[in-house]
Symmetry: D4
Subunit: 253 residues, 8 copies
């Protein structure tokens, strides 16, 4: 929308012939790209500090590739999550420098655009080998958003000394992401050892009464350690994203 169009629109508004909602709608509509089955929200980087992230689950490879292409060719950083090999192959054909992390199931591109924006280190702690995919998703997310990220694996509460041995590393982090399945007890212990924000990610690891992560989720929501916040089951991306917002350098800070 060029200047003339904007002026015309606002004049209409002042005359009362169009309502305010429509003014806003048309003004902001220019940042959205409509490709029929999706409206790509190019304004997200301005509003939320990062371009739209593509959730591949539920999308066909072709749909994923079409959206990824628009984002990447617009010159934005690309992050796609829960991507299968099929999604990756389809994207790779459109976006040459796409990179696939098969454990994290993420696709990234235009990574040369990554800029260090975090204040400190984000530490990702997990309880066992089976939680790796979720931890890796958090890792990729936080890294592509410009953070220093470290990982600490297999420090479940049944062998508490492994965690205690890592207390110095826990204390040095500026945000901690704790990934845990089964009873989801680790965030409570970590939350009691540090004074930084702790983001708990329940995983669907477990069986029987773990109910695909519900048990871990409830454990984390009921944590007796104050200051523990929680994201959805297996949502490594959400944890990495939130950690990144928390860790971010702000001019006024």
């Amino acid at each position: 929308m060029n200047q003339t169009q904007v002026q015309k629109l606002l004049r209409q508004f002042k005359r009362g012939s169009i309502p305010a909602a429509e003014v806003l709608a048309r003004l902001q509509g220019t940042e959205t790209e409509d490709i029929h089955f999706a409206q790509i929200d190019h304004g997200r980087i301005r509003r939320q500090g990062f371009p739209e992230v593509v959730l591949c689950e539920g999308k066909t490879p072709a749909q994923t590739a079409a959206i990824a292409e628009r984002i990447a060719h617009k010159g934005s950083l690309l992050l796609a999550t829960r991507a299968g090999r099929d999604h990756y192959r389809a994207v790779k054909r459109k976006v040459r420098d796409a990179r696939y992390n098969a454990v994290a199931r993420t696709i990234t591109a235009n990574e040369q655009l990554v800029r260090r924006r975090g204040r400190g280190t984000i530490l990702i702690v997990s309880t066992g080998t089976s939680d790796l995919p979720v931890a890796e998703e958090a890792f990729e997310t936080a890294q592509v958003m410009g953070n220093l990220v470290e990982q600490l694996h297999d420090v479940g509460v049944a062998g508490i000394h492994r965690l205690l041995a890592a207390t110095p590393r826990l204390r040095k982090a500026s945000v901690i992401i704790v990934v845990a399945g089964m009873e989801g007890a680790l965030p409570s212990v970590v939350g009691g050892l540090v004074d930084v924000p702790v983001i708990a990610v329940p995983t669907s690891i477990g069986y029987g009464a773990s109910f695909q992560g519900v048990s871990a989720l409830l454990g984390m929501l009921n944590s007796c350690a104050p200051g523990v916040v929680v994201v959805n089951i297996d949502n490594g991306f959400g944890a990495g994203f939130a950690a990144s917002r928390i860790n971010r350098r702000r001019s006024g800070a």
Copy 2:
């Protein structure tokens, strides 16, 4: 049942030799066609305003085709939902003009019988690409029932301006169907912007604590916007059907 039979029946009734229930049963039985595993309800068009719709899920392709054939050959509009390719192939062999929408998973036939019966436009709004199959099912249903139908995709609440930009379209519709997965928040926002009926359709899109659509369903049932009504998870057909009833021109209206 011919006139003589009816008279005989009613005479028996008046004598008290058969109860009223049986009178009704026999009188109405004539509209039902029994093909052993199904009793096709040809009277439904009279009672409910549309012929029986075939739910393919749980039926074999052969059963589906047998039922579809009876409906189509009786000269009624055919609509079959949740149809796989196998169902379609079996139907196609019996019903020549059958059409398959692979996204919506619907089979339709005798579409030349579709008559414009709606007063205004039904608008289908969805939150993301993954919700397309449900939106398409609603679309096919509403269209075959004689309505003008429009669609608006990928206007999730995390980028609220995309929805606001469409406010004029929302305001022009006479009924709005909102299809949403995950937290199912879109119907609340739409419900607050318009004064027409809003039908919310939760979808099973999401993961973890979305519980295959339960999260979206609960969100919609608890909508703080009054006037939002809800159908079953992934029930695009039900939403399209209800919207059609609401939108219908009535002689006395």
Copy 3:
């Protein structure tokens, strides 16, 4: 906000010194009245066709009365739901013509403003004596919104002939609200008898495995009768509101 202020605002916007969101916010802010613990949305009548309705549950009588007073004195129709006697007494002191329906638990005022806006009759059908409060809430809501409303009680499915006896009344309605607890089966039967929209309201009536209305809610969501839409448990207000939108006369209809 007067004309001068608006012009100043838009000039700022054109210069780019304030974002569009803020323009809209300030322009629309004028319809909202802030009384610290609540922002009364006086623009709702314009957007949604009816003034803000007050949900008393969770509000103190004093808070309720303060909000009710603002709405009533602004010259709008007042509807407050889930009101206890305490809420009513507090409102009555501020709003002289307030009326209380103790069964429906509603408070209404400025009822002289009610205008006939519905096209046909809204029929409220319920399964038993215990469902009366929910049916009455729907009744008060639909009536205050300008509709002809009728009621039909105690026609549960275990004595199906009582419902069948009322078929002519069912057929004459333009929208039907079905209120049912326990197994919630009534909407399915009604939905199969008519060709108008059916809004199902599950009630918390029942015991044991009725789970305070969950059983009825699930029954209604899974109705085998197409076109049945559902609202929250015990939400007579929501059903009355939705029925009212459906029944409403529209210029272009």
Copy 4:
């Protein structure tokens, strides 16, 4: 255990050297056949009126065949439920006259032993084509237990006249089994039309909030028609078995 052994045992008991529980255990142990992974309960026909029935689900074809062989060769009627084709093939190799009902997923043998033991007719009523497998399982069970069994399909409540048309058949039955998925409303309507026992069988047919039959189960448990009793989801066998016990001729009756 021969007479001498019994006498010795009882003598030991009288002396107090073994407890009563052991007496019983040894006395009854003779009716059980131990094949390591199973103890076949040949006394069941005496205690419960029918030989042990084999639930194939969770058993390997080889295990199933070994158990079936013992039962059949002992000269008892064989009924095996939830049998896949693999189970059938394995059984067929051991039990020559085994018969498979692929819809019901039952295996039967020694059917020449079936004796008419029922007083009246057991009527199986179902709501739709998809419920057939469960209805058939009930049918096979009730038949092999010596009953006259009839079926009535596709009489769901959304087309209530189909059921009403069958009222005379409902009234003639001595027990009615109602098989229904989705909202499970049919038993309530049937229960209100007859004065005989009604056994409701919820099926896992449906989608979304049907939760694999939970919705139908809850509907049936909360039936407003008194006298409706319920069995587990998809448990056609249990319904047929219970109906058979109810229908059974008893000397003293």
Copy 5:
């Protein structure tokens, strides 16, 4: 409806000016008494073999008394369940011979009309003292419906010999109602000892993970003893009613 009215009605039907549904409705309507908040179903005794039973829960004492009065004065047996003392007092003022069982929470009247209609004895078995109210409700129901009823209390499975000691009594019954809370295991054991129908009633007795009877309900639905049927939690009335239907003498039996 007198003879003339019936003839007029049927004439209209034959001319086609009214549909069959309406014919039935009007013919059957004569057995229903409308007292605004309830439609008393006087035809129930004909259809279901027993007059309408009043569920007091959710009804005010005044409503209960009004309904009870109509039933009792019509000369029918009165049974009201889940009645508090307040309900009883209100009923007693209208129905002189009303009797209250404070444990069962039932009100009965016109008991001189009770006729022996059962073939054998109904035995009610319960696991503990806390289950008495539910057992008593079943007892009152079965008795007022014309059955010989016996009770056997406190035979929980943790002391299995108490049950085994009663085997002869179990074997003599023609129907057994098993009332159990907590894990609800008793019906499985009873079901394995007898060859008559077993109706299981879960009670809300227990704490923690008993979830107000859900644990017992699930245990009973999953009973490994075939032929066990289940009613709603705490539904002693339903069990007594079903047992009565099963036990009933039938001309053709």
Copy 6:
């Protein structure tokens, strides 16, 4: 049952005129005392090693007192749990030396009969002050059953050093009961520090998504520390009872 009766009974059995089950039943029946609403199981001490324990919840004070009197006067140790003050007062009138622990809500009597039967010390560990009632119930139970019992309170995982400081005490115990609400994480940590059996007791302490102890229960069932076993929510009695069985000196050990 005297010697003569026993001989007669066994003779009948040998002749085949009564079945084995009945023999057992009558023989064992002599240890049961029938007081109409309860059958007191005096043989439990022989079978299970401890007299019947009275669960007061769901029993009236009068019923509780009647049962308690029978047990105490028979010369057995009395333990009654979940007793309110009313239960205690009623018992006290019948059993002079009854003692009430108002925190544990237990009544005990005949405590002079307590004999040291445990091998080592049972340690009860709890997470916070609110868990005291459950811990105390476990304490009273284990003590009355003849064990040395110690307690360690308020060692929740958010301050893990409090637990670690008690490691020597944990290591000295022969069985550990861990009482915890909220996320129920403590048993996992304890289970990882010791090599003795750990019994986890979830409590209903918490709010929101603790769901009255469900969250703690699930956490404990999914414990990543092997060897943790679980009892029902708030079931301090069950934990004390099980710990006592584990700790018990056995002749052959």
Copy 7:
């Protein structure tokens, strides 16, 4: 523990006569104060940056007062949550400057110790008047922990312009707490408008299928806006605590 004791301890450790765990335990034990039913964790301020907070729910007033007194007299800031008037009165008798916020249900003392430690402003946004208690709890918590805190009430999504009007305030905050009941949709919309961390607090406000906050909780966990983190239902304290950690000035930042 004095110097000599420490040296002795470490010497024992070096000799291998005590394990490392015990060393730590004893060294750290000195910061814990044992008052039988509680072990007050005075070291928490060092480890977690704030003294132990007292959760009054489940504690008697006397227990609460005893703990509060120890904390306050040790010269630490006191914060007690979920405090009833009884708790407050008991505390007030021991701690003279205790202050009660009856809406937030918090008790605070030694507030002169509060030091500004936050970098920016924490903004608490809520959807309606009924959510005030939870919002106030978050407010008190964040304030006593040294933050500038602002509030914005009644900006639910059904009147989205109220929220949009506040966009500038949202953008100025450094952390946002969103308190919402019913469908819990507000955090998704807020999360899409800003680039700072958003902490969502579900409240138990709502009825029927809101399931005491479960619906809002699920909505928030499934938020389509990335970066939203969640705490337990009604956990205003947890949100305020986490926000405080996020907002905190750190030397190295």
Copy 8:
């Protein structure tokens, strides 16, 4: 860590330059082996009496083999559970004497290290053939931990005499593991017959309302037989491990 390093560390600690937590961490860290995706806890045998057990589910065959190799080559007993054939093959390549139990799905190695450590016999009782895999997992676990283990299969409660016949075997065991699916009633009956600890293992065997073992789990948690403790659904390993701890010979016992 050699002596010099330890001395240096403790000196630093005494000077106060490092906190106690760090001392412990470094001291204990030496028993942990870090292979990036896992930290093998070689100290577990010392703390918990048995080496770390590998849960294969969720781990790739390669990861499993790497961990198994470290444990086996360190000279420890290897136990891996929930192992598929792929896991076994990968392990076998690294650990020559690995043995696979295909029913139990366990891998074991270094079994020559098994030492008899149990006091008595552990008896595993199961309800049916389908529960064998869980029973076998418990068997392998208890055996590799040095116990005499026996099994008793197919003694479900519907044929209670099979269990009673085994009473002598039940009485001779020192710990009993009861494995049961469906309604999970067996532990209650067993618990009432013996005076030794009973560990109940719910299995996911069943269908419909068994909810993959939830029904059995709830039944066991609500057992009316005191002293029954429960582990997670299908957790044969946990039961075997706990039984082993209970059965273990202790020097001081």
